[in-house]
Symmetry: C2
Subunit: 668 residues, 2 copies
């Protein structure tokens, strides 16, 4: 009875619920015990035990993989190896383990017979009852199974077990990565380049998707002509491939940018684009799936279906955006003095954003991204100093583990995934298509943007952005989500290869490329960018940005955080009572200090001081606190934050200079 209850599980959870398999040491005891049971129960129980043991071993494999990755990363950081990023390393280890699992272990199947089958006239149902001599057993649908695979359903158990439910990536592993990305976007250069980033992310991803989709359709036609295509491959499939492969993920490049302190604007453009285009790609791909022309299974263009898809895209995106931003704003906590409660609350609110969006039919990942951005901008200022550290570190660890897990799983999947379809023409075509797609995204849009930008995106920056079009976790997660059809299986295999190639080759080539393109890297922290900062900001910040900044600084921040000027001084006089009711006492205090010691603004302003890390700039403080100058100073302070935070975020190390110092200390 107990044994029967156990198999109620799937994927990772299966891999977790592994109680009492009584295996190695107690094998004898369990054998004795089993004798007394009926033979039927014995078989089921033994099967369950074996399966549980294997689940534990499999999950343990992943954990040891991660452990190995961490140890090697540490060695690399210690020896300042830069050509291979931790994600690239995780993939290599994954590949190795995949090879061992595939070729090194004999088939461990405990019985190779075909499972019993029964027939029904109706279509598949989610719940099926099995009547065994009066007793009823409940069965859950697992999925359709290929007729040629029927005989080895129980075979290759190891390889099957090591395969996770694809939704795990979306619901467990991507959210912390995306949230952390959003949470790290609170940066000076990001807001300054917001317009360009949004253009690249939305227009650029759409261009890339359609260019790749159309090129791939050509490749598919070619394959049909030369007889390489054995099953259906529609135009919408090609577009879907275009959407999933348009999600860039330049973690490797950004890590090196951080370490070398490459140009802040370029960093913001790349990071911002990669974060936002993940959101665009995920919504785009589901819109394409929703594109269903009236005559089923035709690949002709249908205008109404197209507009329906566009509607779905706009609906899902704006819904997710609003939901994320709203939750981000709502979670302004006042639980000072209880950092544990604050951290827990912060974590729960981020997660509930994800679930709320999913429950409402939006995309949780997108909502979580905008929730992260909003929380970094508003909620972060309300947290106590202790909690800001805690939340940052909590999400850092989660992000680190999730990212490396996905990349090592990718390595593993190349050998353990059962339905790979390697098609040389498709793969070569895809490689060419993604480069053309990236070029059609970057160069024309940069040209257009440069018409409007005062501070132009230079040619070498454009080449670097072109080069940094790596593919990563999001493309993989979207590709593995549905591998039911021939087309999707071919896409999955190709995506995997593209991720490998771009992460290893382009990731490894970042440092040479930076010097080849003569992109300035300031070795010290607060030198170049800060000195130029003052003049740059005035030149570039567009009127739209200024408008938003003023609104944010004068109204939103005072309402939502304890920082900023009190509303009583920014709102018109007739709003007095409302203003004083919405302003927190702390804001008054901050404002008093702001008036009294203007030059010490950044030091007294409670919620800004701690952001500096170890570097404080009081030199900037000039008299006269107009909104514009406050903007300059605040942005400068964020510049500092970018550098100190960024390093920790991506390297998990103390800042550069500290590391230098330590290397010279006798201990190492």
């Amino acid at each position: 009875m107990d044994a029967l209850r156990r198999p109620k599980r799937s994927a990772v959870f299966a891999a977790l619920d592994t109680m009492l398999p009584v295996w190695i040491l107690l094998n004898a005891v369990s054998g004795l015990k089993a004798e007394d049971d009926g033979m039927e129960e014995l078989a089921t129980e033994k099967e369950a035990e074996e399966s549980h043991r294997q689940d534990s071993v499999n999950l343990l494999t992943f954990i040891l993989l991660l452990t190995l990755t961490i140890l090697t990363i540490w060695l690399f950081k210690h020896r300042r190896v830069r050509f291979l990023h931790e994600t690239g390393l995780a993939m290599i280890y994954g590949l190795l383990v995949g090879v061992i699992l595939r070729y090194g272990i004999p088939a461990t199947s405990y019985h190779n017979k075909t499972p019993p089958s029964c027939s029904l006239k109706e279509g598949p149902v989610s719940t099926l009852l099995l009547n065994v001599s009066g007793k009823f057993f409940e069965y859950t649908l697992k999925g359709e199974i290929n007729s040629r695979e029927i005989h080895n359903v129980e075979q290759n158990d190891m390889l099957r077990k090591v395969t996770f439910d694809p939704e795990v990536f979306f619901n467990i592993l991507l959210p912390p990565i995306i949230f952390h990305a959003g949470y790290s976007l609170k940066k000076r250069h990001f807001f300054r380049n917001l317009g360009s980033i949004i253009t690249y992310a939305f227009l650029g991803t759409a261009i890339s998707c359609f260019v790749i989709g159309n090129l791939m359709y050509g490749v598919v036609k070619l394959m049909q002509v030369v007889g390489q295509l054995t099953d259906k491959f529609y135009y919408t499939d090609c577009l879907f491939f275009g959407a999933i492969i348009s999600a860039t993920d330049p973690v490797t490049v950004l890590a090196i940018f951080n370490e070398l302190h490459a140009d802040g604007d370029l960093y913001a453009l790349l990071f911002g684009e990669s974060v936002m285009n993940d959101a665009v790609a995920i919504v785009l791909s589901s819109s394409i799936v929703a594109y269903q022309p009236s005559g089923a299974n035709t690949h002709m263009f249908d205008a109404s279906a197209f507009f329906k898809s566009v509607g779905v895209f706009l609906g899902i995106f704006s819904g997710s955006f609003l939901m994320g931003a709203a939750t981000g704003v709502v979670t302004f906590t006042k639980l000072h003095c209880f950092p544990l409660l604050e951290t827990a609350l912060f974590f729960l609110m981020s997660w509930s954003t994800f679930l709320l969006a999913e429950a409402c039919g939006f995309t949780g990942v997108v909502a979580v991204l905008f929730c992260g951005i909003t929380q970094a901008h508003y909620t972060y200022n309300n947290l106590s100093e202790e909690s800001t550290k805690r939340t940052k570190q909590l999400f850092e660890v989660l992000h680190f583990l999730a990212e490396n897990f996905i990349f090592s799983y990718m390595g593993l999947a190349l050998f353990t995934f059962q339905n790979h379809i390697f098609s040389p023409i498709f793969i070569i075509g895809a490689f060419i298509a993604i480069f053309i797609g990236r070029a059609f995204n970057i160069y024309p849009l940069s040209f257009l943007l440069n018409l409007g930008r005062r501070h132009k995106i230079k040619g070498n920056f454009q080449h670097m952005m072109m080069f940094a079009g790596l593919r990563g976790a999001m493309a993989f997660a979207l590709a593995i989500r549905d591998t039911a059809t021939y087309a999707r299986q071919m896409m999955f295999t190709t995506t995997l290869l593209i991720v490998f190639f771009t992460v290893w080759v382009f990731g490894g080539g970042t440092t040479p490329m930076l010097s080849w393109l003569h992109i300035r890297c300031c070795r010290r922290k607060s030198d170049g960018p800060q000195a130029e900062g003052q003049s740059k900001t005035k030149q570039e910040s567009a009127w739209l940005f200024r408008l938003w900044y003023t609104f944010d600084h004068n109204y939103l921040k005072p309402i939502l955080t304890h920082s900023g000027p009190p509303l009583t001084s920014t709102l018109p006089a007739y709003c007095g009572p409302l203003a004083s009711c919405l302003t927190s006492p702390q804001a008054y205090e901050n404002h008093e200090q702001l008036r009294d010691h203007d030059s010490d603004l950044l030091h007294n302003d409670g919620d800004l001081t701690f952001m500096f890390g170890d570097t404080a700039i009081t030199a900037n403080g000039a008299s006269g606190s107009t909104s514009e100058e406050a903007l300059e100073r605040e942005l400068d302070s964020r510049e500092q934050e970018l550098l100190s935070r960024g390093t920790r975020g991506f390297f998990g190390s103390t800042p550069h200079l500290d590391a230098d110092l330590r290397q010279h200390s006798p201990k190492h």
Copy 2:
């Protein structure tokens, strides 16, 4: 096809994979889209969507529950309410939501028909194939289903969905709680009272288990006589109940002890006993399950089966203990300067202990407990300052969330669990039995222990221990794990009620009880216990403890950590080369400092300094560093740690005095 792949999931994971249900805003769009699909696919897809949406809503319910709990706890802490602990609160909120789910929401079933069934002659298999006009679908066994429930398999979907797979508690929620408990055991009073704690935990739990088991067997016999028992209830079932209900969990009491700074010895006895008896109870219960007398289903005593069970107990326990301790010792990291890597590694190693134990047939929870204790003792000293904070905080948050989740789930389960069996006689009998069992545990063992102890366990301490026999997370997790039979269902219901009663009544009565029993509470941190500490330790520490301490201090610590004297000075001369190879350079450095500035020992010794928190005691430092005096000092420093850590651990707040100060500041 896509929709068919989705239902491959279970329990919590099911509750997570909830992509794209296109519900509220896009309801219209999804309706339009669905039109084009075949009717069959439509039904399945709609079903899947509906189910996914509901999963999200359900998980969201739990998260909002936790959020509400956190906000109320904050309010309570702010107003210094002590009669209700956060876990008690979580249960109340859970109860309320349970009532709403049960009675407030109409049956949301989308189709109430009985699922199709098919017949097989063979016994239930784990995998079943369904042949629908040539297409094959794979089904997984979910469990046996009662024949009376066949018709509402799909009914009461909400209540079914809100029910987690019981293994979730064991594999996801208990490990962080237990690990955190083990990790917090690094305390002076714990090691001083180790013998007593082990006696209470092993002998006491066994006594309690057998007393309760036998009393309950009497109750069951009585129920048979008065005709209240409608199904089978064996003697082994009674013993099993005795085992699961013997796991005490006085979180509420300990939290109040911490806040009031009650006697350190009493705290250590209670905390140590509760942590260890969880491990004993879990292994004891599985040994009882393994007790299968030769004639199946008889409840007569069988000596060989009994000794087999004892063998299982000893095997599992010692195996888990050794595995946990070994992994704890192995994870001594040297990744200084990279706190993120260190924290991630620490986390992964703790988890891999759990999985390794499970894979080898031991009990993961027990292994994790001893891993935590070992890591706190050795690995903790090797971590960098930043990492110690991070790991502590990480596990603190995980423990906090897991604990409150379990307690709020308990509240929920009272109304949402479908198979409750409320039997007044059994419940009243159980209440009486647990008190008698507790009394037979505490009083005779205290009497025996007092024969050997120099520092006696006084009468009022014994009464307090008797009073603090609360039941909590472990008893619940063990009870919910198997609710397949009539007996187990009745046990589960009774356990739930016992947990509610003890947490609310005894938890709430702790403060009055403390004053009624005249148990001294020192309001200030470092006064009483520290002053007495010096004299006490010498009196009480048994020769066994001293022997162990010397061995640990002279050999284990130098090998496994950077602290302690170098091996070269503790090992005999002929072991010189081995000693110098095993000693880390840092240990030499520490030792130099130790010799040079002996009175500053605690300040210079790198890995001890940061443990103090904000309180440093240099006053104790006397000249002459014999092993005994070092012991005194080290234990004293742990005393400090106990007080500062304990408060944070259980309240997540800054220490008492700080809180006092803040309350008087104008900000609040």
